[in-house]
């Protein structure tokens, strides 16, 4: 049975799907509740070992959610084996948190969504807020009894876009959530991530540049809906009923934006293009625009 939702925060009430977020207070009060599993998912693979929320299990995006050979996520059997080993049931409420304003936590949440795990939420403010508030941490790895998570076929049709999908999508809204330097084509890599480069620089024609971090306040929590509306509806021109694709470099920052657009603002057709710039910027004969303007979609 799902755990009740967090209705303690007035800010959440403004979001389209407030049930997708929990506060640090709410989580601390409910640690150990039956049917609630806390998952830590970080960029730094050792942070969980340094200290984590008591009872939390670690799920690493790089080494556990990805297929070790092909550039893809694990399949249904792989996901079932992983979640069974972590002690997560299909009916459990999963709360995910992580470093870097929940980048990788949002990415993990999005992968859980590909497998249709119904009740999966983010901890607003992530790992940093929990620590800043001096809440309990432990280095004891969580021991959860293994479960029998069912084998569910991954559904790549609803929240995931592939390169060919993006080509046919051209003409509809695209959100490029990378830094302005990556968008304009001054550089092919994120400022601190040169190893994830691409052969060409720039952006997909017509994409609006809305760096992911605009959705986040100084303390790492999501901005209230009034700010998000100003950024995405007024600023980027998104409107109700739009079919939207978000992308970044490998899909982690755009998972964060996908979460904002889908769960906080309530857009119903948002897909994350996880191939993102590391695929598009190296693909042959796909259109690219350089400079600070979105540019036009080339005519046939």
């Amino acid at each position: 049975m799902p755990v009740e939702t967090d209705s303690s925060d007035d800010k959440f009430a403004g979001y389209a799907h407030p049930e997708r977020l929990v506060t640090t207070e709410w989580l601390e009060e409910r640690l150990g509740t039956d049917g609630l599993v806390v998952v830590e998912s970080d960029e730094d693979v050792l942070l969980y070992e340094v200290g984590h929320i008591p009872g939390a299990v670690k799920v690493d995006w790089h080494t556990e959610l990805n297929d070790p050979v092909q550039r893809d996520y694990v399949d249904g059997a792989g996901f079932a084996a992983l979640l069974s080993a972590k002690g997560i049931d299909r009916s459990d409420t999963v709360v995910i948190y992580g470093d870097k304003n929940n980048w990788w936590a949002a990415y993990a949440l999005w992968v859980f969504t590909l497998f249709g795990h119904e009740d999966v939420r983010l901890l607003d403010g992530g790992r940093d807020k929990w620590i800043a508030e001096d809440r309990p941490l432990t280095t004891e790895p969580a021991e959860r009894p293994t479960t029998r998570y069912p084998i569910v076929v991954r559904d790549d049709t609803v929240v995931r876009a592939f390169k060919d999908d993006v080509l046919t999508h051209l003409g509809n809204p695209l959100v490029d959530v990378r830094s302005p330097e990556e968008y304009s084509g001054e550089r092919t890599t994120a400022p601190a991530y040169p190893e994830e480069g691409a052969l060409r620089a720039g952006h997909i024609p017509s994409a609006q540049n809305v760096p992911w971090g605009k959705a986040v306040a100084e303390d790492g929590t999501f901005r209230p809906v009034v700010d998000l509306d100003a950024i995405y509806r007024d600023g980027a021109g998104l409107s109700e009923g739009d079919d939207i694709v978000a992308y970044c470099r490998i899909g982690e920052r755009s998972s964060h934006t996908w979460f904002v657009l889908t769960h906080l603002l309530g857009f119903e057709n948002v897909r994350n293009y996880d191939g993102s710039w590391t695929e598009w910027g190296s693909a042959v004969r796909v259109p690219i625009v350089t400079g600070t303007k979105p540019g036009r979609v080339p005519s046939e």
Binding site: V45, E49, P68
Partner: protein
């Protein structure tokens, strides 16, 4: 590449990693991260003397000084980036006391000889290769 031999201290570290199972390699890396010495105050007060390693996902700074025919390495990275600290610590310990020529002869694929590919992921390991490349470049410049 991989038939080049590692300097003795790095070889020992590599053996330590390869001697334990994959989950324990992360714990070992964590131990290394805790052993990264703090910067001497002359460097801590002059961060401009250190070079930022752009290949790393976290802000890590290094300097390779050459004094009396020996290379002295110093590095700093934030507590909330233990993996990066671990990589820096392995290089600081593994290259300690070597001559500039020995540092320059260190194989570039050290990061891939620690058995961390599966436990850490190749993408993360490239940060360590970036650190070594910058160390070598500094040493080359300072001995030119």
């Amino acid at each position: 590449m991989s038939d080049e031999t590692l300097p003795p201290a790095l070889a020992e570290i590599s053996e330590e990693f390869l001697a334990v199972g994959e989950p324990d390699r992360l714990q070992l890396l964590l131990e290394f991260s805790r052993e990264l010495p703090t910067l001497p105050s002359r460097l801590a007060e002059h961060p401009e003397l250190l070079e930022r390693v752009a290949e790393c996902q976290s802000p890590v700074y290094i300097v390779a000084e050459v004094d009396g025919g020996v290379v002295h390495l110093h590095a700093t990275a934030p507590e909330e980036a233990p993996t990066t600290r671990g990589f820096a610590s392995i290089l600081v310990q593994g290259l300690a006391g070597l001559t500039p020529d020995e540092v320059l002869a260190t194989p570039n694929d050290v990061a891939h000889r620690l058995g961390l590919g599966r436990a850490v992921s190749p993408l993360r390991l490239s940060g360590m290769s970036g650190m070594l490349a910058r160390i070598k470049r500094q040493v080359a410049v300072r001995t030119a």
